[in-house]
């Protein structure tokens, strides 16, 4: 196992009080596997990524365990963590337009992590940078290496970001919405590049996105997050064919489908509850069309439904199913190929 996250919780200090943003997140990533994390804005996807990298504000409290290749990095000092970042695990950010230093050439910026983590000489480093530029599909690398970020297009800059993250051949790559800020055609290119890199390097990837299309394109396994908790986890095909949690169904229902012109595109009413006013039971209860009394009072546990398919919803609880006749309430599969 490459990465094992156990009961990770994150609290941020707001107006003197600690507010829990992430609540007991547990998941794992295997070598060469791509995990997708989906959810609406504000449900804690990006915070999960930043917690793994420990790029958190000073007044944040992180609990639980994060084990990367056998090392429990949650106990690492700041100094020790700097050696892990960019070396064993790297991150690609959402907006390539603002993620590069405007005053330095892209060559220098890619070189940076090589300087930080290896003892390569100047010639070697330049060779490695040129090689990286070729690997991320940028032609004319000899000229490009001395260009400034503003001279490049969004797609090229995201390729540069990928090259920066890949420079020290990390075992884990965290991508925080890497295609959200890009044109659709460029998105496809970047996703293709990610797939190629994955094939070649056996790297573990965590792909954070709100775009189900991206998930379908690159992920092996998917984690659905809602309001700081994981509500469903399944292999990608299983999730699309047989989604269980009403929230997942809602997400899948909100995707426009080719060929089917519905009167109204599905949407989930309401918004994610704010961390200060979290319901005591299931956090989705106020927006769920299948909500029962039980949902309001007690938080559902993660249960295994099929092989490797877990969800946290009372609809699938055996006790609940036995006592009542709510089997008919089970939501229909919403996604059709």
């Amino acid at each position: 196992m490459l990465l094992d996250v156990k009961d990770m919780s994150l609290s941020l200090k707001r107006e003197g009080k600690y507010i829990r943003i992430l609540d007991q997140i547990s998941f794992h990533v295997n070598e060469g596997e791509t995990i997708g994390i989906v959810g609406e804005s504000g449900c804690g996807k990006s915070m999960t990524a930043l917690s793994l990298m420990r790029l958190l504000p000073d007044k944040a409290r992180l609990e639980g365990k994060v084990v990367l290749q056998g090392d429990e990095i949650t106990s690492f000092s700041k100094r020790k963590l700097e050696k892990v970042r960019g070396n064993q695990m790297s991150m690609i950010f959402q907006n390539p337009l603002t993620s590069l230093n405007p005053l330095q050439t892209v060559g220098i910026q890619i070189e940076e992590s090589i300087i930080l983590h290896t003892k390569m000489g100047k010639q070697q480093r330049r060779k490695r940078v040129l090689q990286l530029l070729n690997e991320v599909g940028l032609p004319r690398s000899e000229e490009l290496i001395d260009d400034y970020p503003h001279q490049l297009s969004g797609g090229m800059r995201q390729r540069i970001m990928i090259a920066m993250a890949m420079a020290c051949e990390p075992q884990l790559l965290i991508c925080d919405e890497p295609t959200t800020a890009l044109d659709v055609t460029v998105q496809a290119q970047i996703l293709e590049l990610m797939n190629e890199i994955k094939k070649e390097t056996q790297m573990g990837i965590i792909m954070i996105t709100h775009d189900m299309g991206v998930i379908a394109e690159v992920c092996d396994r998917v984690i659905v997050m809602y309001a700081g908790k994981i509500v469903e986890e399944a292999p990608v095909i299983e999730l699309f064919l047989n989604p269980k949690h009403p929230y997942t169904l809602g997400l899948l229902d909100s995707i426009p489908k080719m060929g089917i012109r519905k009167q109204k595109l599905g949407s989930i009413p309401g918004t994610v509850p704010s961390p200060e006013k979290m319901p005591t039971g299931c956090r989705f209860v106020d927006r769920c069309s299948h909500a029962m009394d039980q949902c309001r009072n007690t938080l559902p546990e993660m249960i295994e439904i099929n092989e490797n398919h877990y969800t946290a919803c009372w609809l699938y609880d055996e006790e609940v199913n036995k006592s009542g006749s709510i089997g008919s309430q089970k939501p229909e599969t919403a996604f059709h190929y």
Binding site: L55, R79, V84, G86, T98, S99, N101, E112, M164
Partner: protein, 272 residues
């Protein structure tokens, strides 16, 4: 960028003035017609003429030559003061802005203390305490000037410290020190640099002021402020003795101001 600077006539005028001053300072011995300190009582208080372009003072020194040599003193004061104050202010401002918290409080309260009384008064008291000399004037001015840069740099650091590229750099494993010097400072000194170019003129003015009241350059040094001060008593008999040093100060400050404003227009994207 060069075209944008030269396209504004005012900036161009400023640039020409500054260039003339620099040329005067560099080639003073070639440009000056007389020695700046040579006393010649036979030709004292002569009006401007072809042999003494700006006339002579009460002991017969050639005012034109003294002004030409004076550019060396003034430029040196301006440059050195800014070169001392700018890095100190920048680094302190960047540290205050980036690390925040207690460090920020301490640094900013110290700058508040310095900024809470008029700069020239503070410089006067420091210069008076250290004893009158050009070096002490420079120290005094540098001590009063750095808090301005600290403020400017701190505010621009605050506006960029949460930029994504800073975060990306942390994600690559850079330590705070490296981020401060490679990412934060280069990206936030723009406004302070413009201020520094304006300040060259103001520092020269302040130094002339301190010399005028006797705290700076001492006779027979051809410092413009000191020359003004000396010619005060003979103003009624020899208008030229006070007028030309005064004009020199005026033009120098004006020149640096015009250049500073021009730089501001060129470098500030909001005013384009």
């Amino acid at each position: 960028m060069v075209r944008r600077i030269t396209s504004s006539p005012l900036t161009l005028i400023g640039l020409v003035i500054v260039l003339i001053i620099i040329v005067c300072a560099l080639f003073a011995p070639l440009i000056a017609t007389h020695s700046p300190t040579e006393v010649n009582l036979q030709s004292k208080l002569e009006a401007p003429s072809t042999s003494h372009y700006f006339g002579t003072d009460e002991v017969g020194r050639d005012i034109f030559s003294r002004i030409v040599y004076g550019t060396r003193i003034s430029l040196r004061i301006g440059l050195l003061v800014v070169l001392i104050a700018f890095p100190i202010g920048t680094i302190l401002g960047a540290i205050a802005g980036y690390f925040g918290g207690g460090v920020d409080q301490i640094i900013m309260r110290i700058t508040d203390v310095f900024l809470s009384f008029p700069g020239i008064i503070l410089a006067m008291s420091i210069a008076a305490a250290l004893g009158p000399s050009i070096e002490n004037v420079m120290l005094a001015l540098a001590a009063t000037w750095w808090p301005w840069y600290t403020r400017i740099v701190r505010s621009s650091v605050l506006s960029i410290k949460n930029a994504e590229f800073i975060e990306a750099s942390r994600a690559l494993g850079a330590n705070p020190f490296r981020i401060l010097f490679k990412e934060i400072i280069p990206n936030s000194i723009g406004p302070a640099t413009i201020q520094a170019s304006l300040d060259l003129g103001f520092v020269i003015l302040a130094a002339a002021g301190l010399s005028f009241i006797g705290l700076g350059a001492q006779p027979p040094s051809p410092e413009w402020g000191a020359m003004l001060s000396n010619s005060r008593e003979i103003l009624r008999d020899a208008w030229w003795a006070a007028t030309f040093p005064g004009l020199a100060i005026l033009l120098t400050v004006l020149g640096f101001n015009l250049v500073g404003d021009g730089l501001n227009d060129v470098l500030d994207p909001k005013q384009r």
